[in-house]
Homo-oligomer: 338 residues x 2
DNA sequence: TTGTACGCGTTATCAA
DNA sequence: TTGATAACGCGTACAA
């Protein structure tokens, strides 16, 4: 496969390489007929601009970086897929990078990466999107950043988020509307912005309904299955279990289901359980989980757009995009027992 | 952040840029003291070779591509993490790409990608690793390929695999040793090499034990939850369910667990269930699944090594690496009822 | 063992 | 609206 370069195209089209460049980059000031002639040659030859040459001669690398604490989590997968799809649609590529919080040298590792690769921009996901030093590093390298669902200083960078607080409140209202009064809540890890939002939304709704939240009905979890197991155990291994449990994510909600089953507590007859995220797991549970669908795919796509569009100087303003959630009603919620 | 280039380093170290280049690439023919002097400047300045310049002037892009049918699957996540970790250890980066089987233009999309980015090599995962046209395209671009667990023409490219057949046989023997005779098998999709291997391993073990496999005990699945549900339903919704089920992956095994529960068939007392893969799901199931742990992380890391090492001319030979599996015994297997 | 000069493929500058 | 030419940062002949 002989590599066709901009020179070949220029020669065959009888124009200069700069003109070809203009056409490829959609710049103005090219006569329509010239543009067409060039495009024809491009199609014939299958010419594609070399990414490295582009990256070298301009700041535009066509490379978007996505940074994760744990790139193998289901959440990361969703985000990656959204970012990947949008990147491709816009002629970019996606570089996946891990920031290992347990590695003492994450800063120098990241620094190395940023020196080597001049990214169009970086997508920062929770919880690392809330590390100030991390953002400082990107700033120092002049790499634009978009954060997803940050908990801290929202004005610092453009961001994409979901209104978790409202979603949580709405879900709580759903439970209340079903007659539930004694509702337990399993928290997520404080390091995640979403975690606090979900907790506050729950409080909002309970308060609005004139219900009080008893301390022993609020458990600490960390979004992981095991923590959900532990929380559910303390909740259900008593004579007076709550009539409903709102877990801060599906993994923990799933754990509640498992513990309920072990204790012979049928869902949703004697206990209603709801989660957050709408992971594949929510549909595999039995009964299937009522949950809040997180539009991770769309969130990631929006983040990519923000990054690529920010490269255009006209709108260097900070942006803040909110993607709508949806509540997915399935089988894990029933009326409160009388 | 002023960008430090090879020239700056050369100037500060009082050597030529070529010498710096030699040091950075670990080439021979540099006096030890000169090397040290250069390294010192490199550390002081934090100099890192620019990836684009490197990719442009040589064929070495330091970019490894990983190609997936579905980059958001748990399997893909595992592979990505393994590849990512090893890439970083070896000073490379990972580019994730999706090959959409349903998109009619996947070939031209891929062609574009390969023209734009000169990859060090590509990792091809199931099932796309078995599309001959796909491999042809990489060949045409001169991009080295390593396939993971291919089903077809193993001699065509270097590959990394797990002995699924033996693993499946071993798992079956485990069931037989527990006294099971009436064992059902849920197949995976034929497009995946692993699927056929697992089926053959099952047959191997059954035959070796002098047991016959009844047609109605063999169900077709596609590795997805829903298919497992359907298979389990036909298996268990009869008066004479089998005493054990071997599902070709955890997702389907999990479905068997769910259906068993619905039918009031307790596991492992009345039914033993085993899976394949050792996904997170296997530990979330109740009872927890006995399964074959797939070393996806190690497999991916090995693939990266193969790719990077193949860049060294001396061993252009085809390689074939086999990574060992392990059987994880958990709670879903019990002795056969008498 | 070290250094010089050129080329990689593209974008950017500035003149035409 | 176009084109000639200089960067961009590095690797590689080839020479010293």
């Amino acid at each position: 496969m002989t590599r066709v370069t901009i020179k070949d195209v220029a020669a065959r089209a009888g124009v200069s390489i700069k003109t070809v460049s203009r056409v490829m980059n959609g710049e103005a000031h090219v006569r329509a007929d010239v543009r067409e002639r060039v495009m024809k040659v491009v199609e014939e030859t299958g010419y594609r601009p070399n990414m490295f040459a582009r990256g070298l001669s301009s700041a535009r690398s066509f490379l978007v970086g996505a940074f994760f604490d744990d790139p193998a989590s289901p959440y990361a997968s969703d985000i990656q897929r959204g970012a990947l799809t949008r990147c491709r649609e816009r002629g970019h590529h996606l570089l996946i990078e891990e920031v290992d919080r347990d590695a003492g040298d994450w800063k120098s590792t990241l620094d190395t990466t940023l020196r080597q690769v001049r990214l169009v921009g970086a997508i920062l996901t929770p919880p690392i999107c809330d590390w100030p030093e991390l953002i400082d590093l990107f700033d120092a390298h002049g790499v634009p950043v978009v954060r997803i669902a940050p908990a801290l200083v929202p004005e610092r960078t453009p961001l994409v988020r979901v209104d978790d607080r409202r979603a949580s409140a709405e879900m709580t209202q759903l439970l209340i509307a079903a007659g539930h009064r004694d509702i337990a809540f399993i928290k997520g890890p404080p390091a995640h912005g979403s975690s606090n939002e979900r907790w506050r939304g729950f409080c909002d709704a309970m308060q609005a309904a004139g219900l009080t939240v008893a301390d022993h009905r609020v458990l600490e979890g960390d979004y992981r299955y095991r923590s959900g197991l532990a929380a559910a155990e303390t909740l259900l291994d008593t004579g007076t279990p709550p009539s409903a449990v709102l877990a801060s994510n599906d993994e923990m909600a799933f754990a509640v289901l498992v513990v309920a089953m072990r204790h012979g507590i049928t869902v949703p007859d004697r206990l209603s359980v709801v989660g957050f995220d709408d992971m594949a797991l929510a549909r595999m549970a039995w009964p299937q989980l009522t949950t809040v669908h997180q539009p991770n795919f769309e969130v990631a796509a929006a983040a990519v757009d923000l990054l690529i569009d920010a490269a255009e100087p006209q709108d260097a303003a900070h942006h803040r995009i909110e993607v709508p959630y949806t509540i997915v009603k399935r089988a894990s919620v029933g009326p409160a027992a009388v």
